[in-house]
Amino acid sequence: MASVIDMISFALLAAGGFCVFVGGVGVLRLPDLYTRMHAASITDTAGPLLVLAGLALQAGWSLALFKLAVILVFLAVTAPTAAYALGNAALVSGYRPAVVSDESGATDSEGEGHA
């Protein structure tokens, strides 16, 4: 029984790790701030959800479970807020998306998009 829980937990953790890593690659590889924020969002939502769920299975019914839940709520609430704050600050200061698909469909992949 314990091993079944361990296996589910392992699967959740590994999936969480995968999500996080994919997001990390995205943040490094994508061309401009807004697309990078897009990639970062997966590491802030799916990643913690899966990882903390995996840990919750390990924790069982205990104080640790409650703490995990609080951490999840913290992250779930603050990550979008931080993303909003960041995107807003960037946009207001005149930082424009670099990836603009025009008529010909060509994209501009320059990272530095100060308008």
Partner: protein, 331 residues
């Protein structure tokens, strides 16, 4: 296996440190030093220093970053082009090289990391581990050593914080009339993040939660990582969050200056007062055992009170320092 993770993190740490020194953008350097603190804290955690990791995170990544940003807002964020004087570079390289080679030379005869037979684990420390439960009766040995066995150090630590607080107030308390912002600008500035609806609402929900957590860290410090200092830093962070969201003026309405001064002085006095009370009750200075009929109960009471004193002073000082910088900005 933990060691391998540690090595990875340490290598990242060195990379970050190099990047901080090389970066010409001071803002980037401050951001990176936030990362530096986080990495440092994770390393501490892997090395079994949970209390230190908590402190480093709250102080290094939180408070220090806020302070550096506050200062950068006042001093400008660019470093000048030629940041290194030629003479200074050679002197620095020389001194650095000498120091490094000395330390490498020494390190080869250091006890191995994790070696349980090293002198540090043979003398003094085992006594603390063996006697914390019988003498003080709390599970967190770090808190016991901090508050009682080496309580005099911690008294000093509170006064270090206190000194920094009155220092910043004294240095930045001077009136100056460099930049007087016009009414509209001042207003926009003071409104702070008030017109950002989402952070504001979320943040307002967060402030009481963080305060609650600070109280937990404060009063649960005898049983888990934490204590007055960490709690003070977290509580100050909550108030600073409030000030960021609602504007510095509202933050100061919440905790007016006289109250802050009272907190700064009162916490330190509470700590010292407990020490003097021990003297009056016939013990040595800071000997909490005399505070109650049962020595371990006295130790409990003493630890509770001094941790409270630490928490109050640290909260007061950190908020005052933040206000001191923020008020400069709004002039």
């Amino acid at each position: 296996m933990t060691l391998i993770f540690g090595v990875f993190l340490l290598i990242l740490l060195v990379i970050v440190a190099l990047a901080i020194v090389r970066s010409e953008d001071l803002f980037a350097a401050v951001m990176l030093s936030g990362i530096f603190s986080l990495l440092m804290a994770v390393n501490f955690f892997l090395l079994d220093a949970a209390d230190v990791a908590l402190t480093e995170a709250a102080v290094g990544a939180g408070v220090a970053t806020v302070l550096f940003l506050g200062a950068l807002a006042l001093t400008g964020k660019e470093e000048a082009r030629h940041t290194v004087s030629p003479g200074g570079r050679w002197l620095a390289l020389g001194v650095s090289f000498a120091t490094a080679s000395l330390l490498f030379y020494a390190s080869l005869e250091n006890p191995h990391i994790g070696d349980g037979s090293a002198p540090v684990h043979q003398h003094v420390a085992p006594w603390y581990l063996a006697n914390t439960l019988p003498l003080i009766d709390i599970p967190n040995v770090v808190t016991a050593v901090l508050g009682s066995f080496r309580g005099f150090d911690t008294l000093g630590e509170v006064f270090v914080v206190f000194t920094a607080g009155i220092g910043v107030m004294s240095i930045l308390g001077v009136r100056h009339s460099l930049v007087e912002l016009s009414g509209a600008e001042l207003d926009a500035r003071q409104r702070s993040l008030r017109h950002h609806l989402i952070p504001r609402i979320v943040g307002r929900g967060m402030v009481p939660l963080i305060m609650l957590f600070a109280l937990y860290v404060q009063f649960h410090g005898e049983y888990s990582p934490g204590g007055g200092f960490q709690a003070g830093a977290i509580a100050a962070a909550a108030i600073i969050l409030y000030s960021l969201l609602e504007g510095d003026d509202r933050g100061r309405e919440l905790l007016p200056e006289w109250l802050l001064r009272l907190m700064v002085a009162g916490g330190a006095l509470l700590y010292g007062g407990v020490g003097l009370a021990c003297v009056l009750l016939g013990g040595n200075f800071l000997d909490y055992s005399v505070l109650a009929t049962v020595p371990s109960a006295g130790q409990h009471l003493g630890l509770l009170l001094i941790e409270l004193g630490v928490g109050i002073t640290v909260t007061g000082v950190l908020i005052s320092v933040f206000h001191a910088f923020a008020r400069r900005a709004s002039r």
